[in-house]
Symmetry: C2
Subunit: 354 residues, 2 copies
């Protein structure tokens, strides 16, 4: 999507180098950095220079390619394996990272093994392409929901955190239906939750919509309930970091509160995510590991103290929204109710609800 | 209550001067400033150097005294009246300000009118004393609720914004039961919602508990739902800016989301407030005016940008929690269900629920 009228993806591969937009510097600075080793990838994921469940999956996929490059000696199998585990564990909550790393690693190990490095790169590039296509399809499916909404003058959509193109490779998950709607001429305005403590809504989502010319307004995380009670929200769409088989969904901390408010006000609440975000091995949300991050993310913005710094703070990165509060899942394969996710696992005929 | 082991009230009157702690400078700087005119009072309220519904009521009461001092000529009645209206309207949502200004103004006008200035001062001092007593009583009533809770090792209480001694004259409303519990030896820990955009929880409530040696932890506004779902919250108590006759309650934006989460997890949700916060003339919450403040409170902390500053932001200061989500009201006269508030108006025998 566009930054200053030029098209970008949030990550791209060229001649042995993975290029990313350093997301910790946005919106003030737009800086492209080069990643050339597995450790570069791991560090970029840990420091959140790349973030967003689908994007860290793709970054992890290229990390497997680097790992094969780095450990290509006769006795390197154990080192390679350890590095792959380190890569998979660089962040705990999003399942896409584990999915993508396993996908590429298994592929490279199980092909003819003449050139696993090249096999890994091929598979990573394949995942890169398929994630873009998946996000585009999410937009097309999501558009059908937006197009059917009965609204006053224009659609008021609320989103939490950044599930935009920066969080994926392109288009985004929760943002893709918005881009699609704008492209097809629907009038739409987005309430952008600031999303403390890292303000990925107020910094990244707002930045994306600004450069795509989508009408939007930043609000505090506290404000969504008030807007919903006053008829100012027609639909809520967020992304996801991991979806359990029963539909319970881990996403950025605070998503559960928005789902409660949507439910209380009879506003549809959708999760937009590629199928790779569904953890078919996890029965319910209570088993999803929830990352705890540094308390300094709450206490400071850079060096500026935001709260009483002598007090302790606790910083859970995610919460789990129970399936009962979720209207549906917008995926690249169609739109599904929580109950229908099981059918995707079993490979039954997929019965999309739209 | 204590700052650096010395006792303070958040405001006090001495020899023609109202002294306040400048709450916009906390927690970094503890500075006492002098207010000596009605405009000083109005400005301190508007700029939130004094804030908190009960405290701005008391500040407004002393403002009436200053107004009588300033407009004591034969032809000053209209000017006096205009200044009183300006004072009452210096912030819109909290009813305590209107209540207190009317109380003192009516008293001074309707006494023998030999020395209305002194009559106003007497009434303001009387209100000052009665607010302290009311908050102390709120603590004693609230303690009974805390003492009955069945908890694991200690009580985990969650609060939103600052309804502490800084928001009143002393003890606070939501904090008074906490102070009382600690004083009587109950083990208690407080989850302090940061409370964006002004971070009055993370800056002021945390500062208060730190200096009173009450165990506490700052969390983002997004985190309360996650903690509740995971059994980490035993009770929620917040303050209020205005309570309608049916029990609908305006409080700092985001309170409604916490009430929803408490209800969803069967956690008791109480509002602690003096009777002066009840607007007996307002039937339901939908008529409560909601202040909209500057978008810069969301975009910046001082000069530090917190979000994409080229995007617009919208900053509602309060929301309304519907009565159906409120377990009870902890007042100086006892604890009441939403349905029982009407009896307080009608002057019927007050039937506290504990």
């Amino acid at each position: 999507m566009k930054y200053n009228n030029k098209n970008y993806t949030s990550l791209w591969y060229k001649n042995g180098v993975v290029k990313i937009i350093d997301q910790t510097l946005l919106p003030e600075n737009f800086k492209i950095i080069d990643l050339t080793t597995t450790d570069d990838i791991i560090n970029a994921i840990k420091t959140m220079k790349v973030r967003g469940a689908p994007l860290i999956g793709v970054a992890g996929a290229f990390g497997v390619y680097f790992a094969f490059k780095e450990y290509n000696g006769e006795d390197d199998h154990q080192k390679l394996n350890n590095k792959i585990i380190e890569l998979k564990n660089s962040r705990p909550t999003a399942v896409n990272l584990q999915f993508a790393v396993d996908l590429v690693y298994d592929h490279a190990l199980n092909t003819n093994y003449e050139n696993p490095e090249e096999d890994a790169l091929d598979k990573a590039n394949e995942l890169f392409d398929s994630e873009i296509k998946a996000c585009k399809r999410i937009g097309e499916h999501g558009f059908k929901i937006l197009n059917k909404l009965e609204v006053k003058e224009y659609i008021n959509l609320l989103t939490h955190c950044n599930a935009g193109w920066l969080a994926t490779v392109d288009y985004g998950t929760a943002s893709s239906p918005v881009f699609e709607a704008a492209y097809r001429g629907l009038d739409i305005h987005v309430w952008v939750d600031e999303t403390r403590p890292r303000n990925q809504g107020g910094k990244l989502t707002a930045w994306e919509y600004f450069h795509e010319d989508i009408p939007h307004t930043i609000i505090t995380d506290n404000a969504g309930g008030h807007l919903m009670r006053n008829g100012e929200v027609d639909i809520v769409i967020t992304g996801a970091d991991r979806i359990a088989l029963n539909g319970d969904t881990a996403n950025k901390i605070g998503t559960y509160l928005k789902a409660l408010a949507a439910y209380d006000n009879k506003i549809p609440f959708y999760i937009a995510a590629p199928i790779s975000t569904i953890d078919f091995n996890m029965k319910s949300g209570k088993d999803i590991p929830i990352e705890i991050r540094s308390e300094n993310e709450i206490k400071f913005s850079g060096n500026t103290p935001l709260n009483h710094t002598l007090s302790p703070a606790l910083n859970h990165g995610f919460d789990v929204t129970p399936a009962r509060l979720i209207t549906g899942f917008i995926t690249e394969k169609g739109i599904f109710t929580p109950e229908q996710l099981k059918e995707l696992k079993n490979g039954k005929k997929q019965t999309s609800i739209t």
